[in-house]
Symmetry: C3
């Protein structure tokens, strides 16, 4: 049993961008020394989130639509009144979705459904350079 | 320290069905060789979710009511327009709730509150045969 | 590789109170025998939640505002009709947010963003004495 840390690095365009990182996570699992275990996929930052989705064009519209309906960009946010960075809604969305996801894997394959991808959700109002941490634990 | 994988298999009736899987998870922990650690409870699939709730009839109505209020089945979803499977809302709900939960356990007992059960949330519009993965890590 | 369990204990004022527990978690990591791994931060109880946020006064208003907008205290909850404890909304909010968060750490430091803190969300309608479990796994 051991721990290995890997990082994914990529640039984003700003909200709401859903990026399929399944292949990148899978590639790191392939390269690491661990065969069976869990991978904790974690965003260090308060305006990004990780979840899963069927990565197809319909849901790539529906999921951001739901975020806008529930946490409208146009509301008055106290965060914005203090910091004037126009991303109060981004923070609230990120806290609701959560900054991480832990996925099991065996024989180096994540145990995902056939139509289930791991996504990074760029919720910030502006383009960002992102790092996602993969903390891999297992045998 | 080791890793063990277990599976729960069951059939569901379709949305929204909240199934108390606490006893089934506990039974697998009892049978496995690990005494202290964490269990990652994970749905391979994009229309199910795992969370905890006080499993009593009131909340079994209130929680689905909240899902319907926030992510109405009757909205137009792009997913449905493309795939005609009537479950766009199911996917959006699942991505928001998340496909997994990680629970600590000691002496083979999950460290849950007295009134806190682990639930599988069937969010899909139709009955499904479900597998839930338990990735158990510890000593 | 080993497992260590720690507990945080504190009292809350009742809803909605967001408590920054980052320093307390960091102090327990400092004291434990594990250097690299993950910490599963878990609330045993159905009316609390764990997530991350930029802990500043604006968002400390915005996040509770969003919870009230989406899950209003004033709705009729079946939970309340049965148990008369006035916290149906608390339970629904907690199930949506989730009772736990798993955070990676290396060299005993959680890999959080500079403006990202771990918070306990007191969602219950009344003051509570809370225990938060830290299940720490790693080398």
């Amino acid at each position: 049993m051991t721990v290995e840390t890997r990082e994914l690095k990529f640039s984003t365009k700003g909200e709401v961008q859903l990026i399929d990182i399944t292949g990148k996570v899978a590639a790191e699992l392939e390269k690491c020394s661990i065969t069976n275990g869990i991978v904790n996929i974690h965003v260090p930052g308060a305006t990004g989130a990780i979840t899963t989705i069927e990565y197809e064009p319909g849901l790539l519209a529906d999921f951001p639509d739901a975020l806008e309906r529930l946490f409208p960009k146009g509301l008055v946010y106290e965060h914005h009144l203090r910091w004037h960075d126009g991303n109060g809604h981004s923070h609230v969305r990120a806290s609701m979705l959560g900054p991480s996801l832990t996925v099991p894997f065996n024989d180096k394959n994540m145990l995902l459904g056939k139509w289930q991808q791991v996504i990074f959700c760029e919720l910030d109002a502006r383009p960002r350079d992102r790092t996602v941490i993969l903390q891999i634990i297992g045998d």
